[in-house]
Every structure is written in structure tokens, then in C-alpha cells.
């Protein structure tokens, strides 16, 4: 194992190099560009043996990846924000066809107003597209997700495309020291892609067909079962990953000081670190604070969320997202998990970080204080305060 000082994008590219995709089709968009630039360099220097297709749009990027996957090849693409929205049609196509493509999405705000900085409105708006959705916190996790993603997506029980989300700039462009697994170990961990969902000259196939009302919903049910099966497969894959590479991951959620926690922030992505630091600080003054980091939004950790929040006095969902006219989408999902499990705990939604706006340690401390004292159901951090969000 070697160590390198890498940004999130670069770490993800290293993970993809180890996963050996055969076809890469991508279109540049800030802040995703570094990952495709590094991959192009790897193709050029021969350290990655892949077809790099310079497509003319994100729609074509994913359409091309679907074609490659239908040909039986391991396919990769990467995008962000407007690009993810532009390829939206193909997202549903890839999942409906059960093509285990992997995509890195650099989480970024969506226009209008134009903004290139990080929030999670792009990927969270596509929760229903049938993709597994993972959210990395740091560059090491980004690399490890890249390597694990194909093993999870390509598992016969799952056969579902996989979207790994990295917070734009905050994670994609921030450097840290990262362990790079050895090629030999990576090959042992991730075998070549095998499937019968592909073009076959000995037994020709008709693919991506229509299905009428009599069978359509059966296909959809099976698609649902496939992504649900990822719950077990993620756990199995992480176990195997830990045995080979020595790094452990905790499945769909990551818990921090939640065992006896009375006040818990539920969040996702790179902001979790600051939440943990704040929880530590509050614990010193006697507040039983905890943090839950959602690692996978799909399949959604319903049981895990209900279990970890069951004995809390109140929780906050902190997210860089808003479903206009309602509340943050993560909040909706968390509340649904609790309702289904019969857990009745006061919950509050905190919207922050939109368009890359900084979320400070003070903001997070305020969230804990707000849920201790009770506040509005949906809160935009800073709006209405002293500086009214500025």
C-alpha cells in the first residue's frame, strides 16, 4: 500500500484506475473535471487500459456508458449539477435496464442563480432514479467507494447502477493523505464483470425493450428488490474490503457517540466532521450530543435510522438541499423511517450550505441548541438571524 497526497477527485480517479473500467465516457463540468482529467492521463500513460470516449454531452456520456454496459463492458462516467440533470433521462434508463454503471457526481448547486459551489440538490433530486447513492466524507472514503462500487453494483443480486457523491470543492478539491491499495489486492477484491445482461453473439438478445401493463410492474418490482438487496451486499463488500485492505466502513450509516445521545444531528457528506467536533465540544459542557452520517441515501437506511434515533430526545437533519414547497428531502426520508418504525422523537430540519455557503462550527452549535429548546420544523441556517444569512 502506498500513500499519496490527493484531492477527493484524484483519490476517486485512483480508485477507478484500480477498478479497471473498460469504457469511460464523460463530459467536463466543474467541479468534476479533475477526475476525468486524471483518468485521461491514466489512459494516455497506459496505467489504465480503457476506451476513453470524448462525448459531446452528459446525455451522451451516460447513453454511451449504457451501450458499453450492454456490450458487457465495465463502464464509468462522472458529472455534476447541470450535467447530472441533463443526463436524467439516462439515469432511469440505466437503472431500469439493470446496467451496473458507476458514476461519480461532484455535488454542486443547480441553476438558477448560476453557482458552481457545493450543495446536494443535484443528486438528491435524483433519488428516485433507481441508482444506489453513496455520499463520501473524505478522500480516502472516496477512493474506497470507487473500488467497492463496482463490486456492489455488479453483484447479481443487485445489478443496479451506482452513484458516488463527493461534495463539490469541499471534498473534490481538498487534499489529504490517502492510502492507495496495491493492484494485486484490488484485482483479488474485484473480479472481472460477468453478466448475462449483455449482447451475446452465440445467443443473441433483444435488450432495453418495452413491457406492457401485464409485466411492466414485475420488472419494476424486481428493480426495487435489486436495489434493496444492496443493503446486504454493501455490508458483505465492506467486510471483505476490511479483510483485504484493513479499513472498516459501517454500512448505510455511520454513528458517532450516539449510544447515549439525547440530541443527534443526522447529516451526510463532508460536513459530518465538523458536526462530530461540535458534538465533542458540547459533550464537554454536559450536552449528550451525537452525530449520524448517512452514507447511503439509496437504499435508504430505514431500520438503522429508526434504531439510532429511537432513544434520542430530539434530532436535527442538516442537509444542503431543499425540496421547494416542502422541506429538505433527507428530512422527509428520515421522518418516514421513524414513522414506519413507530419512533416518536421531535425532529427539525436545517437547510444550509446552499450554493456553497459556509456552515460554521457556530452554526452547528446553534443547531444543537435549537433542537434542545425547540424551533421551527424547517430552518434555513442564518436566515432571519442577526446578519440574515449574509
Amino acid at each position: 500500500m502506498s500513500k499519496k497526497f490527493l484531492s477527493g477527485n484524484e483519490a476517486f480517479a485512483e480508485g477507478i484506475r484500480l477498478a479497471c473500467p473498460q469504457v469511460i465516457s464523460a463530459y467536463p463540468i466543474t467541479p468534476q473535471t479533475i477526475v476525468v482529467e486524471r483518468l485521461s492521463e491514466m489512459v494516455e500513460d497506459g496505467s489504465l487500459s480503457a476506451e476513453y470516449v470524448h462525448v459531446e454531452s452528459e446525455h451522451s456520456a451516460l447513453s454511451c456508458a449504457i451501450g458499453a454496459s450492454a456490450a458487457g463492458a465495465r463502464a464509468f462516467t462522472a458529472t455534476s449539477s447541470q450535467g447530472l440533470l441533463y443526463m436524467a433521462e439516462c439515469l432511469y434508463y440505466a437503472s431500469g435496464g439493470r446496467f451496473p454503471i458507476v458514476m461519480m457526481n461532484a455535488d454542486r448547486s443547480t441553476a438558477l442563480p448560476w453557482n458552481i459551489y457545493g450543495d446536494q440538490r443535484d443528486s438528491l433530486s435524483q433519488l428516485d432514479s433507481g441508482w444506489i447513492q453513496a455520499y463520501a466524507e473524505n478522500a480516502q472514503e472516496a477512493l474506497d467507494l470507487a473500488l467497492m462500487s463496482y463490486k456492489i453494483a455488479e453483484d447479481k443480486r443487485v445489478s443496479t447502477p451506482y452513484m458516488a457523491n463527493l461534495d463539490g470543492f469541499v471534498l473534490t478539491h481538498t487534499y489529504e493523505t490517502v492510502d492507495i491499495p496495491e493492484r494485486e489486492q484490488a484485482d483479488k477484491f474485484l473480479p472481472a464483470y460477468e453478466t448475462d445482461n449483455r449482447i451475446d453473439f452465440d445467443n443473441p438478445k433483444n435488450m432495453a425493450f418495452s413491457a406492457g401493463p401485464d409485466t411492466n410492474y414485475i420488472f419494476k418490482f424486481k428493480e426495487h428488490e435489486g436495489i434493496l438487496a444492496a443493503r446486504d451486499v454493501i455490508n458483505e463488500t465492506e467486510k471483505e474490503f476490511a479483510e483485504i485492505f484493513g479499513r472498516e466502513y459501517s454500512g448505510l450509516i455511520e454513528k458517532y457517540r450516539t449510544d447515549d445521545a439525547e440530541y443527534i444531528i443526522v447529516t451526510l457528506g463532508s460536513i459530518a466532521g465538523l458536526c462530530r467536533e461540535t458534538a465533542d465540544k458540547l459533550r464537554e459542557s454536559g450536552v449528550k450530543a451525537g452525530v449520524v452520517r448517512i452514507r447511503y441515501m439509496r437504499p435508504f437506511p430505514n431500520a438503522e435510522i429508526a434504531e439510532v434515533l429511537r432513544n434520542a430526545k430530539a434530532y436535527a437533519v442538516l442537509e444542503k438541499d431543499i425540496s421547494f414547497g416542502n422541506e429538505g428531502t433527507v428530512f422527509t426520508n428520515v421522518n418516514s423511517a421513524l414513522k414506519k418504525a413507530g419512533v416518536n422523537v421531535s425532529g427539525y430540519n436545517f437547510i444550509g450550505g446552499l450554493g456553497g455557503r459556509n456552515i460554521s462550527a457556530g452554526d452547528i452549535e446553534n443547531i444543537y441548541n435549537d433542537i434542545i429548546n425547540g424551533t421551527d420544523s424547517v430552518n434555513f441556517i442564518g436566515i432571519g438571524g442577526e446578519d440574515n444569512g449574509k
Binding site: Q22, V23, S25, A50, E51, V53, H54, V55, E56, S57, H59, S60, A61, S63, C64, A65, I66, G67, A68, S69, A70, A71, G72, A73, A75, E89, C90, Y93, I199, D200, F201, P204, K205, N206, M207, A208, F209, S210, A211, G212, T215
Partner: protein
């Protein structure tokens, strides 16, 4: 009595049992092309007539490997299929796309342009029936001037479509594509020869075949082939190729047949006035002036 053209293509049927309208020109183009390319053709068809009539699970009408793409994604999926199969070590196959006029000239033109620009090793066949027939005869970028469609109704104020047909053949050629051709299902030997030629050229190949739709054009099902001959004889369509930087005209009618006769046979042009027909004739003459000046014979 041996038929050389019939002998030159596969005896197998690769597009069979489909639910296209009786006399469908598009299905004839797809059938003929696949018989040229043989069992190792991998076809990509966007959402549209030929996918709608051929891929209804469990009635699956392509005997070769075939896949539906998104409407805009014929060319990009072809690229992926070709790259994926090549990456897996396959050499002896042809990635071929069949998209209609709307799928090609409107929603799919960006992906097509990208594929030609990259010179991906694919054959792209546009079966042009001159409107969005699958959705019920709406105007496309390849609907000719004057045609009545459900979105260009012919009334007393507006006589059908006000715009001219986009020139996809020359748009493809302008990319300096290795091979582009026009064809008509009224001349199957010519179409077959062009598909065969395309299959032997490396890089991107574009074939634009006029494929009348009896339903949308308002002709009887048994008229499809004849009207596809007449569109060439009247000079409103032409058979040509682009190769090595030059345009070549394959066929020049000794004398154009009547434009009016061609138009008046079709329900979609019934409403046209003498003035409208004059505009169409003048536009044909202008086009042929250009062809005579710049195309080799």
C-alpha cells in the same frame, strides 16, 4: 432465374413478425440493411416506430442482438456498444443504428454529430418518413415544405408546413465523414449496395434513406415503394454519395416526372395550390442547379 441482389444478402430474416403498419417503408429499410450486415450486426434503435413495433416483450422481432436507445441517444449508444464490444475483444461485428427523421435531424443530431466528429466505427441509417409518425404524424425537421401533419394543419391561412427539409446528408458530409449516402426504399438494390459499401469502410458511415409511411403520407399500403421511386424521378429526392471529400450523384433522371403528380397522390399534399406547387418546383430546380454544379456524376 437468379437475382444477383437477392443472392448478395443473407437469406435469413432478422426483422420479422414486427407490428409496423402494412406497407411500412421504414421496416423495409431495416429489414434490407440487416440482411446485408448479417447475424453479427448489433442494432441500436431509439424510441420511435421501429422500436415500438419490434420490441414488445415477449414479442421480440430482431433475430440479431438489438437494443433500444433513448430518443436522443442512438449515436451515443452506438458509440458505447462499439467501444464496449471492442474492449471485450470482439472484432467481427457491425454496430448499426436505425433512427427516424425526428430521431436523427432533431433530437438526435447532437449525438450523431459527436459520433461523426470522433469518427466512431458505426453505421448510422436514418429512415426518413418525413414526420414523427410513431406519435401520430407531427412535423419534424425533415418534414417537407407544404406537408400537412397534425402539428402543421392545412387551413385557409397556412398551407401545412412552412419550412424546408433540413439537409442531413450534407450536414453529415460537412463533418468530412468517411462515407455518407442518400437512398430510397424505391431502389432497394442501390440501398443494399450502399449499406454493403458502408460496412466495408472504417469510421462513421451515414445513410439517409427515404422510407415513405403510408399512414402519414396518405397513400395506400401498396404504394410505398412506388412513391419512393417517384420522389426520386420527380427530382424531389436524389441518390448520391459522399466519399473522399467529393459528392457523387448516382442517378440523374433524364427528365423529371411531374412534381404535381407526385404531390397530388398523397393525402398530406392534397391541399396544395398551384402557387405552392410552384414554390416546391422552384426549390427543386434550385437544388438541382447546385447538384449539377458541385456533384460528380
Amino acid at each position: 432465374m437468379a437475382n444477383k441482389v437477392a443472392e448478395s444478402i443473407s437469406r435469413e430474416e432478422f426483422f420479422y413478425g414486427h407490428k409496423a403498419c402494412a406497407g411500412c417503408g421504414g421496416s423495409l429499410a431495416v429489414r434490407a440493411a440487416l440482411k446485408v450486415l448479417g447475424p453479427n450486426a448489433v442494432s441500436v434503435l431509439p424510441a420511435g416506430c421501429m422500436s415500438a413495433v419490434g420490441f414488445n416483450f415477449p414479442q421480440l422481432c430482431f433475430s440479431n442482438n438489438s437494443i433500444i436507445s433513448t430518443f436522443a441517444g442512438t449515436a451515443s449508444m452506438l458509440t458505447g456498444v462499439e467501444a464496449g464490444l471492442r474492449a471485450r475483444g470482439f472484432k467481427d461485428f457491425t454496430a448499426v443504428g436505425f433512427a427516424g427523421d425526428g430521431g436523427t435531424a432533431d433530437i438526435g443530431i447532437q449525438a450523431l454529430s459527436g459520433a461523426i466528429d470522433r469518427n466512431d466505427n458505426i453505421i448510422y441509417i436514418c429512415y426518413d418518413n418525413e414526420a414523427y409518425m410513431n406519435t401520430g404524424i407531427q412535423k419534424s425537421g425533415l418534414t417537407p415544405f407544404g406537408a400537412k401533419t397534425t402539428t402543421t394543419p392545412a387551413g385557409s391561412n397556412i398551407h401545412g408546413n412552412l419550412h424546408n427539409k433540413k439537409n442531413m446528408f450534407e450536414i453529415a458530409a460537412a463533418h468530412d465523414i468517411p462515407y455518407a449516402a442518400t437512398a430510397s426504399i424505391g431502389n432497394i438494390p442501390d440501398f443494399i449496395a450502399k449499406v454493403k459499401k458502408a460496412s466495408q469502410i472504417k469510421g462513421t458511415k451515414y445513410i439517409h434513406v427515404i422510407a415513405p409511411c403510408p399512414t402519414g403520407w396518405g397513400v395506400a399500403p401498396d404504394q410505398t415503394v412506388e412513391i419512393a421511386k417517384e420522389v426520386v424521378e420527380s427530382g424531389l429526392w436524389y441518390l448520391a454519395e459522399y466519399e473522399n471529400g467529393t459528392f457523387k450523384l448516382n442517378y440523374k433522371p433524364k427528365e423529371f416526372s411531374s412534381v404535381e403528380a407526385y404531390l397530388k397522390k398523397q393525402g398530406r399534399f392534397k391541399h396544395l395550390t398551384d402557387d405552392d406547387i410552384q414554390i416546391i418546383t422552384a426549390s427543386r430546380d434550385k437544388k438541382w442547379e447546385y447538384i449539377n454544379r458541385t456533384f460528380e456524376l
